[in-house]
Structures are given as structure tokens and as C-alpha cells.
């Protein structure tokens, strides 16, 4: 392009020093700084402005670039964190690559913090300008590479969450491969009897969704299918999937959404499960209720936190309390004279709807007894019935309850296929075994790896509305990439000098984003290759490199060294 020619020639630097009203000018001797700037090597033009960021100031920059053939611009004013983009676009307007611009922060980090020491502030301002000019001399034009993003997505898991994401993305006009390892869609919800807090039949929500999935032209549903390998990066993933035992499928997609859900923990050996008849899990109870096999038990005891909030599984599974309350209410409704007692640790009736629900249960006469982790309930057989003894934490009294049925509330846990997928995608699992999002607060459905997203119980236990909200969240994130059809990669990325690189792989070890890796470049030579599309430019790899083969664009070792020299040895300017 036309300006790259300009850039390649000898540095011709223009320096613009801002008064910022009295904010800088009131402390720093701006004219002095301007005069000093003119003496610096490479500087061909320098001027002062009342407000460089004003329309007038900006047009002066553009004018000077043309008039004096500037190929580097330095503005000495406020912090780049707020104003750099403004000045950069001014440079671009004048045909100068935006990375040939650099800022000297002489307000926040000079005049405002040394307002009582004008001389020192002026000296410091000169130093800062000198450092900035030193870096500017070595600036290179950079381009933000554009990567095409295929407008197709792979969604792994066809439960409520996966299907919701699929339908939303299909509605937005994208091609969806919806992959489900089971022969049937619907996931865990398919096995439930009713859903809280509305007590709806799962079919009410599943059937319409399945209908939409099957009828959508944009969705290709692949059941009994597992993902075996994924190569490439955001926009261009090459996915290999295995359908049934034999049929291998190759799919090219722009984005991937993980919606693999979770499974219920198996309480083998706890509270006599599989040993004492009548000890079952909530899932088994759901089936009994659905098939009308409850009968008229005299008393049902439910035990919460069976397998959660303990060594190895310290997390709370979020949904079990409400689920138990739901089933308790259903039992009370089907057979009012049945005593239902829930042994719990803390009732998680959080948020807008669930306290009300908990209240309903107390109203219906469901008994809640809190137990202490160190004094868990004991279940034993007494005659034809079961006996549960528990210490009521609020009364310090042992309560013994006869029970015809003991129902164990077990947590959701990651399943094997989820762990396999994590390996295939090279995305992390948290200490709780669930998929780990990029940021707990602000990026709940993203992975650190671009183009791959997560939602629903694959990320952590969640109820249906929460899973659905995340499903749409993931749909939005994937939709953004596919809608624009491209992503702008960071311009500030790692560069490998292949002559120096010995392919030791230290860089690969330290990169959090799988953005650099050692590849065989033939002739027994291994070389680190940067996947610029996903490199975030932190520079951790550059420092890790034992041979100094890696440096960072726009923050090159040469540039930093120049700044150091300028900072510490005025003489050598």
C-alpha cells in the first residue's frame, strides 16, 4: 500500500506536546519540552497545542504528516488508555499506519503527580518524550490480520441447552451440526417427571424444541455420534466425528459450542444404596412418579448433599434442594397423608422464585431437618421398613424416622465423554471437573480459546432457565463471529526468528491460549509456529524462549532497550 513506502524510509518523527489547558501547561514548561523534542534524533517537526485531542489539534497532526512527510507521530499528553485510539485514527486518516503512532503520558503520570515541582516535572516530561521518541524511531507498521470465519457451528450435546443454542443459531441463519452421543436427544431432562418451579411436564418443553430441531433446514442432527478430533482454530475448525461404530464424518465449522451436560453422581454404597431395598436416588423417584408407581408410602425421607460438599466434590450442586422440594410436593399432592421429611445442610432456595417454592413445601407440611456434615444420617433396616436416625442440628437431638423409602439427592458431575471432549478440544476443566470458562464473572460462556464456547450444566450445575439463558448466551457469542464472517486478530503478536529457534517447546508450555506450538519444518528441524489468529500478545513466550528467538510486535526487545537507554542515559538521547 502507498503509506508502507513512506514508513520504510528513515524515521521522520513529528512530536505534538499538549497543554491540556492548564493541566499540563500549568506545571510543565511545554515550550521548553517542544524545543527539546526538536533536538532529538529523528524528530523533524514539533509543536505545542492547547488541546491536541480537539478537532483543531487532530487536523494539525494530519496536516503535519502530509506537509513534513512524517512517518512516525508522537503525542505527549494524557494516557494512551483513553486517547490512543483517537490519535491512531487521525494518523490512519492521513495515510499513516496506526502502529507508527506512540504516546507520551505527561499528564496522569507527570504534571498531575508533580504539580508542586514544576522543574522536576518538566525534566521528567522531557525524559518521557525522549523515551517515547526512542521507541518511535523503531516502530514498524502492523496489520491486524483478518481471519475468515465459516458460517457453520458444531454443537456438542443435544439436551435442552444444545438444542436451544442450535435452534437460535439456525434462526439466525447459520448452518448447525448438532452432535449427540446418545441415540436419542433430550439429555437428562428426558428422564425427569416434572420441572420446577412450574411443575410442567418435560415433554411440554422438549417436544416443541425437538420439533424445531428436526424441522429446521439449517440443523443437521447427528445422534449416536462422538467428536474424535478437532484441528485448526477460530473460524476454521476441522472436526472429525464418529457416527455409530464405523462411519467417520469430517465437518468444517467456524465455531464450536460445548453443551454436553452432566450426569448424576452414583451413590454406590452410601446410605445402603443398592444394599437396602427402598433406598433410591431422586432420578429413580422421578421415574416412579412418572410411571405412577409411588403407591401410598407412610413416610418418605430425602437426604440432601449425598456426594457433594465433601472431600473430592466440595461444590454445591445448586439444583438438588429445589428438585427434592419439587418431588416432596408431588408426593404430598398424590398422597397427602404420607409424611415427607427432607434432611438438608442448607436449603438453596435462592433468587426470585424458589423461596416461595420452599415456603409452599413447609405449608404442605414437608418436614425439614438440618444435619451436620460430621453427623450424617444413618439408614438401617427395621423389620420390613427402613429406619433413618439423624441428629437435628437445631435441637441437638437425635431423631429417628421410620421410612418406606429413602431418596438420595446426588450432585451433577462431569461424565467421561465430557472429559474426553476437553482433551480433544484442548480446553480446561476446573477442579470441580466441569468445563472452565475464560472468566468467572465476565466471560461465563467463553473459553480462553477463541471460537469455542460452553453453556449449560457442562459448565457447572444449573437448572433449566439458567441453562437456557446460557444457551442463548453461547448462541450470541458464536453468532457474532459467524455473522461478521471474520475476526480481526491482534496485531501485537509473537514473532519467531526461525534461524534462532531450536524448537525446544518452552513457548508452547507457557502459552495459555494454545497460540504457539512447535512444528516439524522438515529436515529434522523443529520450529515454533505462532497461530497469529489466536495469539493475545502477552509476551510470556518471548521471555520463556531460551534463545531469544521470539519477540513481540510493537513491544520488541529492541524498542524496550531503546527506551531503557533513553530513560537512563540522557547523553546518548
Amino acid at each position: 500500500m502507498e503509506n508502507s513506502k513512506v514508513n520504510s524510509t528513515e524515521p521522520r518523527i513529528g512530536v505534538f506536546v499538549c497543554h491540556c489547558g492548564v493541566n499540563i501547561g500549568g506545571v510543565v514548561d511545554v515550550p521548553k519540552v517542544v524545543e527539546y523534542a526538536k533536538t532529538l534524533p529523528g524528530v523533524v517537526y514539533a509543536e505545542e497545542n492547547l488541546y491536541t485531542c480537539s478537532e483543531e489539534g487532530l487536523s494539525k497532526i494530519k496536516g503535519a504528516i502530509r506537509e513534513y512527510g512524517l512517518n512516525r507521530v508522537v503525542v505527549a499528553s494524557c494516557t494512551p488508555r483513553t486517547h490512543e485510539p483517537l490519535f491512531r485514527s487521525a494518523c490512519e486518516d492521513a495515510g499513516l499506519n496506526q502502529y507508527l503512532f506512540e504516546m507520551a503520558n505527561i499528564r496522569e503520570q507527570c504534571s498531575w503527580v508533580h504539580s508542586h515541582e514544576p522543574e522536576k516535572a518538566t525534566e521528567k516530561a522531557k525524559d518521557i518524550v525522549r523515551m517515547t521518541v526512542a521507541k518511535a524511531r523503531l516502530l514498524e507498521p502492523e496489520e491486524e490480520a483478518e481471519i475468515a470465519v465459516a458460517d457453520s457451528a458444531l454443537i456438542v450435546g443435544a439436551g435442552i441447552t444444545g438444542m436451544t443454542t442450535a435452534v437460535s443459531l439456525a434462526r439466525q441463519g447459520f448452518r448447525i451440526y448438532l452432535v449427540e452421543k446418545e441415540p436419542e436427544v433430550g439429555g437428562l431432562v428426558r428422564r425427569l417427571n416434572a420441572l420446577y418451579p412450574t411443575m410442567s411436564d418435560p415433554a411440554e418443553i422438549l417436544n416443541p424444541l425437538i420439533e424445531q430441531v428436526k424441522s429446521s433446514r439449517n440443523i443437521q442432527l447427528l445422534t449416536s455420534t462422538g467428536v474424535t478430533s478437532v484441528r485448526g482454530y477460530v473460524g476454521n475448525f476441522e472436526v472429525t466425528a464418529l457416527r455409530g461404530k464405523t462411519e467417520e464424518l469430517k465437518l468444517n465449522v467456524g465455531t464450536i459450542v460445548v453443551a454436553t451436560g452432566a450426569e448424576a453422581f452414583d451413590p454406590e454404597g452410601r446410605y445402603g444404596y443398592r444394599r437396602l431395598a427402598g433406598v433410591i436416588t431422586q432420578l429413580q423417584l422421578e421415574r416412579m412418579l412418572r410411571d405412577g408407581e409411588l403407591g401410598k408410602p407412610k413416610s418418605v425421607v430425602m437426604i440432601q448433599c449425598v456426594g457433594s460438599r465433601e472431600e473430592g466434590r466440595p461444590y454445591c450442586s445448586r439444583i438438588c434442594c429445589m428438585n427434592a422440594i419439587k418431588n416432596a410436593l408431588i408426593i404430598k399432592e398424590k398422597s397427602p397423608e404420607t409424611d415427607v421429611c427432607i434432611l438438608y445442610r442448607d436449603i438453596q432456595a435462592y433468587g426470585r422464585n424458589y423461596e416461595d417454592y420452599y415456603k409452599k413445601a413447609r405449608e404442605a407440611g414437608v418436614i425439614f431437618i438440618m444435619y451436620d456434615k460430621d453427623k450424617p444420617p444413618e439408614v438401617s433396616r427395621s423389620g420390613i421398613r427402613l429406619k433413618v436416625s439423624v441428629v437435628n442440628a437445631f435441637m441437638h437431638q437425635e431423631v429417628t424416622l421410620g421410612a418406606d423409602m429413602v431418596v438420595l439427592s446426588t450432585p451433577l458431575v462431569q461424565h467421561e465423554s465430557g472429559r474426553d471432549l476437553a482433551r480433544v478440544l484442548r480446553v480446561p476443566l476446573g477442579s470441580d471437573g466441569f468445563f472452565m470458562e475464560a472468566h468467572a464473572k465476565l466471560r461465563p460462556v467463553d473459553f480462553a480459546t477463541d471460537g469455542i464456547f460452553v453453556c449449560g450444566t457442562a459448565q457447572s450445575p444449573k437448572n433449566i432457565p439458567e441453562s437456557i439463558a446460557q444457551a442463548y448466551g453461547a448462541a450470541s457469542k458464536a453468532g457474532i463471529l459467524m455473522a461478521s464472517g471474520k475476526v480481526r486478530a491482534e496485531a501485537i503478536t509473537a514473532m519467531v526468528n526461525e534461524e534462532i529457534c531450536r524448537g525446544c517447546g518452552r513457548c508452547e508450555e507457557v502459552c495459555e491460549f494454545n497460540a504457539i506450538g512447535v512444528e516439524d519444518t522438515g529436515g529434522a528441524k523443529m520450529t515454533a509456529k505462532v497461530m497469529e489468529a489466536i495469539c493475545k500478545g502477552c509476551g510470556v513466550c518471548a521471555v520463556a524462549c531460551p534463545t531469544g528467538a521470539i519477540t513481540m510486535r510493537h513491544f520488541t526487545t529492541k524498542q524496550i532497550n531503546a527506551m531503557l537507554e533513553a530513560a537512563l542515559t540522557p547523553g546518548r538521547g
Binding site: 413447609r362 405449608e363 407440611g365 418436614i367 431437618i369 437445631f394 431423631v399
Partner: protein, 388 residues
Amino acid sequence: METRMEDAMAKTNVRYCLKCGKCTGSCPLARVNPEYSPRQTVERAILGRKDQILRGKGVWWCLTCELCSERCPQEVRYPDFIRACRIEATAKGIEHMCAHGGMLAELQRAMTSPEVKQDRLGWIPKGAKVSGTGDLLYFVGCLPYFDVIMEKIKPDSVAIGQSVVKILNRVGVTPAIMPNERCCGHDLLWTGEVESFKKLAKLNMDEIAKTGAKTVLMSCPEGYRTLKLDYADLFGELPFEVVHTSEFFSRLIDEGRMKFDKSIDRKVVYHDPCRLGRHLRVFDAPRKVLSSISGVQLKEMERSRAEAMCCGVDAWMCNSNSKQMQIERLREARMSGADLLVTACPKCQIHFRCVMSEKLPKSVFPVPDEAKIDVMDLSELAAKAMGL
């Protein structure tokens, strides 16, 4: 009115309990009696430990002061629940602590007989204008009896009645007073004897009807609550209005009919009786009366109005805990900087005077001097300020 624990559980929101303990953390009794916990009583009820509750002491300890229900986040009406338990316990013939060796209860039971002909008007001041009938009936309550039973501490309860009558006459009202007025039944009701209560209520209603009163004036908050809420609960809407002296006086002040020409130069603090305050939400009227008396500097206790602490006794069921609470309350009154404690309940007054009159070896139970303070009824102070 619920008479069985189960019925009460539904009606008083007991099932909604969150076991948060705010009730017990608020209860003035629980602070001095570690065995007592409303929360645990409720939990027992939920767990169906009926016998434990009905035979336990806790059910009788409760002051029914409503501080717990005032604060309960789930609106559990604990005192009403307790009352139902007491009624059922009594019906089951379960023995319980009784007030003052049962003397008052005996008197009250005696009054349930239609034949009783009381001679209880001796206290009416000479020259006072009273009548057998009239628009306004002054329901005196058991004041004359108190003076006899408690004579050791010289409660001079009738002074309250005398003040009320004088004030009424001064503002040109000739009150009706019933020669055969009976105990309102409050104490029997709250100690579980619901049948006797009903008898007394019926007899009083008939007597009141005879007077043709449109307004019934009460100087005793317990009687006030009993007529206004419990009689209404029994007989439906009452054919007359029930007002407390404090409310009546503040009305007179509004109408400009009640004038205080004597200045009372004292620092006064007002103690809200539970039944007048929390039970019936009368907080402003008594304060208004006090602040319209010239010279009076009105102070407030840390815990006042709906936050007020109970005087420590309900339905005369007094015990060692009551005493600690009374001292705590009196200390608080003194802390407010006041030198005169005014209440609007003859019983509160008696309980405070009682504890201050006691002499005990300091080692056993010191009654600190800072807990000593003059106590007076609102009506008496009002009368004084009117030069009566």
C-alpha cells in the same frame, strides 16, 4: 380464637418458620432464661412434639409481649400460638404455674357466677359525678382488688381510676360506671381458662348493654385488648367503641377541651405497655398527652414504641426472670435521663413499684440504685397537670 395447637399452627404461620432464631434473639425472657427459646418451641411443634410443648414450662414462661412476632420475618404469631397451647394444656388438665398462688385466678373464677353482687365503688372520690348509664362507660378494671391484694407495696391503683373520673368531670363528662363490673377475663384467657373467660365476657357484655354506652373507656391496656380484640372475636362487631384513656385524652386535647394549667417540671420517660403498644399500635397518643403538659421534658428509652421491652410479667405469672427484666427496664428508663417513669398500664406500674420495693441481700440479687425511679400512670399525671 384457636383452642388447639394444631389449629393454631395453621392460623399463626408457625409452619413458615425459617428457624432463623430472630425471635429468640429478640426475646427479653430468653436473655435471662437460657432454657427458653421460642424458635425451639416452634421447631418442636413442626416436628409434632405436642406433648413436650403442652407439658413443658416454656409455654407458661412466654410473656406474650409480641416482640418476637413484631420482628419475625415470616409473620409467625407466636403469642397467639402460645395462647392456644395454654388453652389446650388447660383443657387436658395439665398443671401449670399459677399467678400469685392462684389467688387472682380464684377471684376471677368467682366472678363468673351470675349471682355475684360486688361492692366495688368505694374508691369513687367524694363529689365526683358518675352514673349508672350514659354514652360513655368507664370500664374500671380490677383496680380496687389490686390495692387489697398487693397492699404490701401500696400500689394505690385506684388513684388511676380517681384521676380518670376527675378528668372526665372536669371536661363535662359524667361517666357511667358499672357497680357489678367483672374482670374482663384477660388473665384467665391467657392462662388457658377459656371457658371461664367466655362466661366473664358474656356477663360484662350484658352489663355494658344495660348502661347503653356508645363508648367504653379503658385505663387498663390488658382490658382494652381483651374487649377490643377478644370480645369482638367472641361476639362479632361490638355495639360500642372501645378507647384507651390515652387516646381519649389526646382527642380531648385536639378538641381543646382538655387544658393543663399546672406546669410539671420533670424529665419524663414513657414506657409502652405491650398490649397498648405492639398489640394495638397505640404509640403516639400517650406521648402527645405528655408533650402537651407544660414543663414536661419528654425523654425516650433506647427501646421504645414497637421496640419497647416488656415489664416482665403477663397475666400475673411472675417469677425470678421477671425481676431481672424489670430491673433492666428501669435501668434503661434512668439511662434516658428521666426522673419520672410514666406508663399507661396499672399492671406495669405495679410490677415496677414491686421490684423497687423489694429488699434483698445484695449478694443474692442486687437491686441497683440507678434502677430506682418514680413511677406514675398517665391519667394521674394528666390530672395533676389539670390541678385535680
